[in-house]
Structure formats: C-alpha cells, structure tokens
C-alpha cells in the first residue's frame, strides 16, 4: 500500500429523511483505496454499500439524503464539501462508475457512438472525428467485435453483456484513476459475468486503475479483490486482505456470509416415482410478422421440441443462459402461454384446455416467480394474498377456516402468523419469497414451477429458501420444475437436470452425470462460469 491513498473515506455517515423519520443508512464508515488497488465492499442488500459508493460522487438524492459526519478525500480534496463545478470535473473524468443494470443506465435513444462520444467531447473537448476514433479504440479494448458496425447500434440491439461492455467503455473513456463498479455483473448471466470480470481485471492491470467493487457475491470477491470490507447494517464490521478474510474470518457476520452457500443434497433420484408432469415435443414458436398483411414470415423458436418428465417428490432442474427458453418452457407447461405438443399433467392431457377449463387444474399446478418484490400485490395484505387462491378453489370455506389455513401455511414456511395483516413492503426479500411460496403451498399442489426463485435474493437468504423448498418437497412429495441459471442452487436441489440452449435441450441426465461428467462444451462452460467464475472462449456461450 502506498503512503497516501488515492481515495480515503473517513468516518462517513449517510442518513435519509422521509417525513419525520430519519434513517441512518451508513454509520461512521472509514476505508482507503490505494493506487492500483481493488477494494471490495461486500454485504447483503440494505447494508449501505451502494449508498457509500454513491456518496463518493455525491449522486444521492439530496436533500433527502444528508451526511451527518465524515469526509471523502480524493487526492486530498474533500469531495463532500466540493461544489457542483468541482464535482463535475471529477465525475466521469477521474472517478468513473459502472452501474448494475446496463439496460437502464444507457440512454435508449442514443447510439453507442453518441453515448461514448458525449463524455469525450464534454471532458476532453474532442472533435467529432477524434471522438469517433477514440470510441472505436475503446470498443476494441472492451472486446466488442466489429466495433465499426456497432457504432450506430442502439442499446436495445445489444445483448446484456455487450451493453455492460459499452458501459465499461464509457467509464474508461477518460482514463479514470478510480473505477466504482456497483454490482456490475448481478444482472448478467453467469457465463457473461465471468467474461466481464475477466475484462475488468485485464483493464485494471493495463491501466493500473484503482477499483471500488461492490457486490454481494463472495465468489466474485475472491476472484477480483485485493482487500475486502464487509458491511452490514451500515457499518464496516471487518476489513482486511482478501486471502486473510477468507482463510480466517473474525467477525461472526463474515463467517455467516462465508457459510451461506446453498448446501445439502437433493433426495436420491427415483426412477419409479409417479410421473406428475410430462411434455412431449413441446414447442413455443412466436411468429414474426411482416408486411402490410402481417403475414407470418418466420418464427422465433423460443422452445423447440422439448421432451420433459417431472416425477413426484423429485426436482427437475432446467439450466441455461438467459434467452435459452427455460422460463418459456416452464410457462408453457403451466399453460400460461400457448404451445404445441402434448402436455400431460397427472395423466390428463391439458394442452388443449382453455383458460376456464384449466381452472380446476391450477390448484395442483403452482408457480413461484423470480422477483418477490414484483410478484406480491403491494395493495393487499399477506393474508389476502395467500387467501386469493383459496377463495377460488375452496369457495366453501368460512372466513375463520380460511384464516386458520393461512396461519398454518405461514407457520409451515417459517413466518410468524401474527404478521399476516401486514403489507408486502414491510417484509425483506427472503420473507417475501416465503410469502410467495406460502401462496403456492396453501393450495396443496402436486407440481410447482419455480422460476429462478432465489436469484433476486441475497446469498444467505438463498440458502434458507433452498432449505425450505427441500423440506416442503419431502413433506408433501412435491414435484418441482426448478428453473435457474445459478448452477450452485440447482446442484443443491435437483436430481435431474436438463441443459437448454436456444430453445433446444443440449444435454439431459441425472444431476451427478451433468455436474461430474458434462458431455457438451456448453455445459462445461456453464459449470466453469458458475463454480470457478472462469470465462470460456470460442463462442460456445453468448457474449
């Protein structure tokens, strides 16, 4: 570590005022970043890590946010007391930032050339031609193929990984001394995540940049960071060199985080178990229409001839990158979208049934969605949310009986039944996912489609939800269709796995077969990205 750190955060506090309530989001935090060093800020959602990072560039919603104490020294200037003009010189020029969601942080109406060129013209005063040349150079650096062709593309024409590369190119445009990366890979596929991390590491080495890396994923931290600061509830509880923290964690919270990986084994695969859900040559083709008469000229084959079988008490994991058709397959099986091919549920053909005819079957066929923040109606209390299905499928129940059922199911998913009159926004992400699971479980289903139920959750909460799901499966002999891009979770839960790519199944087998002896390059690339965060090259996976 050099003598004077590049960035030095001293005793920083951030508080938010809403109405007469004041919340302290960051509580007397101090850390340094030396030149060329990568510091990772690790913590679960709500721990204040993003707020800390945003206050470096004063990007918080002032005046609702305020700093009761502290200073942020960048090259010996205090950024907290700097005025807007001074800040503008630093922002994007000396300190650059990459955000979590590449789609929303790029302006959808500007071409790539304009987005990157804007910063160059603003901070460097480059002319059009010079800016264009520099833009091409930057795009080359961040590994975008055929950058000349990409200059006129709009953000929506790029894939998630490419968008994040453009964001990085924008951040690098003025060769900043410090790069703040706020969960830069959370919204990306594991395979793309590995590529982006590799790119960031390479660029950092070449330019000897410092980096403040914010993440909740300890696997990434181990890969990229020199030093780690562990944050919880607005405080840094432990800080030290990465190797040391991982080898010898001191604080109980750090130990808790390190132990949080989903563990445990799924029940043994049982080939004799009764088949609950079966799909034969399932196809979901979306027509592409062109011309005045909207004739169908082509199809987007989201799911293209998939055979699938899910047995009682067993879990079938469906893995693949985003866009591979996993969720579409699940929705087709649950008859939420129309599809071709035979679908048998409990021995009955359900592929021709109308929405109304499906109704009696819905009870035994439940879905748990990815985002527990989006899947619960914000205007209904927990009890109302859970009761909704009961009102349809068991209209004979009295209010008291319904209430008793809700209490039972809440106990079953590990929530306090007293909280049933509260509204979803009063619960944490993990608790909300438990509510969503309770909503499915209250109907005593036989088949549950789990659409990435853990990917919006923090690591430690993921493990708890996985335990809960496994426990419920054992108790009720449930059949799960578990859709996920996170192979760690799949390994903890699934006994059979199918690997999907571009709507087709590329590999299928028991979990041991897939994880221990993958047959295709694609599966191997997925596994390398998920467990070792290693990128695979050669076009096997998407960019």
């Amino acid at each position: 570590m050099s003598e004077t750190p590049l960035l030095s955060i001293r005793d920083l506090s951030v508080s938010f005022t809403q109405g007469d309530q004041e919340t302290l989001a960051v509580d007397h935090v101090s850390f340094d970043i030396a030149k060329g060093e990568t510091v990772a800020l690790v913590g679960e959602s709500g721990s204040g890590k993003s707020v800390t990072a945003l206050s470096v560039l004063k990007l918080l919603p002032y005046p609702a946010a305020s700093h009761p104490s502290g200073s942020i020294l960048y090259k010996d200037t205090d950024l907290l007391s700097a005025n807007e003009t001074e800040l503008r010189k630093v922002r994007g020029n000396e300190i650059a930032m990459i955000f979590q969601e590449p789609m929303t942080s790029l302006n959808p109406l500007h071409t790539i050339e304009r987005q990157i060129g804007e910063i160059l013209k603003l901070h460097r005063g480059l002319g059009d031609a010079a800016a264009r040349e520099r833009t091409l150079q930057l795009l080359n650096q961040v590994g975008i193929r055929d950058p000349e062709k990409r200059l006129d593309s709009f953000p929506h024409q790029l894939s998630g990984g490419q968008r994040q590369r453009v964001m990085i190119a924008m951040a690098l445009a003025n060769e900043p001394d410090l790069l703040i990366a706020d969960e830069p890979t959370t919204a990306l596929d594991v395979t793309v995540q590995a590529q982006i991390l590799e790119l960031l590491a390479k660029l950092r080495r070449e330019k000897s940049m410092s980096m403040l890396f914010i993440t909740h994923d300890l696997g990434i931290v181990r890969k990229v960071a020199d030093r780690v600061c562990v944050m919880t509830k607005g405080e840094i509880v432990e800080t030290g060199p990465t190797a040391e923290i991982f080898a010898n964690p001191q604080h109980p919270y750090t130990r808790h985080l390190l132990a949080a990986e989903p563990k445990g084994k799924p029940p043994k695969a049982n080939p004799d178990a009764e088949t609950v859900m079966e799909g034969d040559d399932v196809k979901v083709w979306f027509p592409v229409k062109k011309g005045l008469l909207r004739r169908t000229v082509d199809y987007i084959k989201a799911v293209d001839g998939v055979n699938i079988r899910v047995c009682a008490g067993q879990t079938l994991g469906v893995v693949g990158e985003s866009g591979s058709g996993k969720t579409t397959l699940g929705l087709a099986l649950a008859r939420m979208i129309s599809s071709q091919g035979e679908i048998r549920f409990c021995g009955k053909n359900i592929d021709q049934l109308s929405f109304r005819q499906m109704r009696p079957h819905r009870r035994a066929l439940q879905i748990v969605f990815q985002d527990p923040f989006g899947s619960l109606s914000p205007r209904m209390s927990v009890a109302e949310i859970i009761q909704e299905g009961l009102r349809i499928h068991e209209p004979g129940l009295s209010a008291e009986e319904r209430d008793a059922t809700v209490v039972d199911v809440l106990k079953e998913v590990g929530l306090d039944p007293e909280t049933r009159f509260r509204y979803p926004h009063e619960f944490s992400g993990g608790q909300r996912q438990r509510i969503a699971i309770a909503r499915a479980m209250v109907l005593k289903p036989r088949f549950v489609m789990l659409d990435e139920p853990t990917s919006a959750l923090d690591m430690s909460v993921q493990a708890q939800v996985v335990d809960l799901l496994r426990d419920l499966q054992k108790r009720h002999n449930l059949a799960y269709l578990f859709i996920s891009h996170d192979l760690k979770v799949v390994r903890a839960l699934a006994n059979n796995v199918i690997v999907m790519r571009a709507g087709k199944v590329v590999e299928t087998g028991t979990a041991e077969q897939i994880f221990e002896a993958p047959q295709t390059d694609y599966t191997r690339a997925l596994i390398a990205a998920a467990f070792n965060i290693e990128a695979t090259h050669g076009g096997v996976v998407s960019e």
Partner: protein, 383 residues
Amino acid sequence: MSDIQAKTEVEAVRREVARPFLSPINQRRWKNFKANRRGYWSLWIFIVLFVLSLFAEFIANDRPVLAYYKGEVLFPVTVDYPEEKFGGFLAVTDYRDPVIRDEIEANGWMIWPPIRYSYRTPNNEIPEAAPAKPSWLYNRETRCQRYPGGVDDPACTIGNWNWLGTDDQARDVLARVIYGFRISVLFGLILTAASALIGVSAGAIQGYFGGWTDLLFQRFIEIWSSVPVLYLILIIAAVLPPGFFILLGIMLLFSWVAFVGVVRAEFLRARNFEYVSAARALGVSNRTIIFRHLLPNAMVATLTFLPFILNGSITTLTSLDFLGFGLPPGSPSLGELLRQGQRNLNAPWLGITGFLSLSIMLSLLIFVGEAVRDAFDPRKTFK
C-alpha cells in the same frame, strides 16, 4: 357461481372491518395530503360551501322556512300550498305578497330564510331601474322609497336586502350565485363521475385485453375526439330543448375520452406485472384481476386527474351559459351572470361577483387537485 362470489365478497367486507379503515399506503397519502395546508384547507372550505349550497332553499328563498297559520304548522319550502288556504285565488302562494303576508302574520307567524329571494324572484321594490346596486350602497330612505309604507314599511328589512345587488331582471344576485354554484358543482361532479366510470372501464378493457380490442378502440377514440363538440351542441340545442340532463348527456359523450389514455397506459404496464401473472396462475378470473389487482393501480392516475377534469367540466358549462347555449333561460348559472356583467358594464357588481365566485371555486378545486397529486406522488417528500 355468482352466489358463491357474492358470499365471499360479503365475508371479505366483514374481514376488512377488523382492520384499520385505511391501508398503510393510504394513511401515508392522507398524511401527505394534510401536509399540504393550502390544499387541505381548500378542501374543507369547498366542502362547507358545497354543503351549504345544497341547502340553498333554506338560505335564499321567496318562501318562509316555517309558518304557523290558524293553529297549523306549515312547511312552505317543501310543500306547495294553494293560495286559497290564505284567502287568495292563485294556485301557488306568493308569500312576498303584502296581502298574504299580513294575513299570515295576523293569524300566526313566519320564519324567513336569511335571504328572502329565490334565484327567480324579482324584487319589485328596487329603488331605481334594474340592475340595482347592492342595498348597502343606498341610505335607508332610498332603500325603502318604493315600499308602500316607506321607511316604516315592515317589509323593508335586512332580509329583503340585495346584498350583491340585482341583475337586469331585478333578481337577487346573491341568491343566483348560491343556486348557480350548486348547479355548477353538481353538474361538474356528475359529469366527472360519469366520465370517470365510462373512461376507466373503457381504458381498463383496452389496456387489459390489448391487441385488436385496443387497436379498434383507439382508432374509434381518435375519430370520436375529433368531432367538434361546440357545433354539435349548437345543432342539438336547436333540435332538443336545452336542459341540465341533455347538456350533461352531450358533454358526457365526449368527456370520458380524457380518462382512457392514462388508465389504458396503466393497465398496459401493470398487466405484465408478476403479481398479475401470479394471480392468473392461481386461476383468478379476468374480472377479479381487473378489479382487485389492476384497478387500484389505475385509480392513482385517475384520482390525480379528477379535480382537474371537474374544473374543466365546470368551465365548459359556464362558457356555454355565457354564450347562451347552456342551461335554459332563467336558470341560475354563473355563466349567465357573467354575460349579464358583460352586457351591463354600468353595473360592475354583476361582473365582479361572477368573476370572484368562479375564480374562488376553480382555485379551491385546483388547490385540492394539487394536494391530491402530491399525496399520490411516492417520491415527493414533505418537511
């Protein structure tokens, strides 16, 4: 099926009683609304004025509220008594007639409302040619000079004052303002409520089902909203006798369109929310999804819009009245008052009264609207 549903609804209502009246999110909104002092007070002032105007017959009327005649209690405000009851010969009693008045006073008593004029009662005793100035601008002698008994005439009392003067047909302006305010607000409220009902349903259906339904409806609305409403009203006014409900109907035909846009957009957005998919996966019917999950979202946009639409409706009615294509002649209306003010520039109390009553009413509503908008804005913070 509907039986069962009705039963579950009843139970739902019963269950909700146990919980606080407002959900936490609505409590927060109400708090935010109250935090806007101007809007909050405007709401109260408006409510008080509106409720008072609902009882206009008891405030400004040419009949007594209560009368006692020959051992009988009479309610002339609500009951039409023929004049022969008091020894006259007309079908409807004119209580302001000195003969009838003296007859009743001799055999009992009368309690008059504070203003002894209805919106259509001419004051036959004004000291100069109509329009007459407000009574407090005359001295007692001038004020009473046309009464048979002069200064000593019992009818020359404060109850017979024209507080805001009279119009060019010698009718009391204050009485007309009170009745006019009521008819304007009622018209606005009914029109807004009816357009909201139609507009929200149309928007909901378009947004929820999308596709062809949406496309056809949208094209229809584009054509429909390009119809020139004013000319249509002129044409219809020539065929049908203009009245409160005919005007309401014609304007309703076109005003519901204002709501469609916001509600449709809200539904298009919200129908892909995961909790809507979740409800669909539970087997919830389209109707229930629309009412339980989507409508509350759209109501925020609608409620924010409502006070402004209400204002727009009132303004439209007033301008039609001003042009003479509105309510039938003789009806109390603020637009008609403005027209009188324009015609009688020598009587500024007409124009000033019309202007003030309209601008106060519209400002109050706009202040309420602003406060509602702020209360529903989740990002707005209040200090």
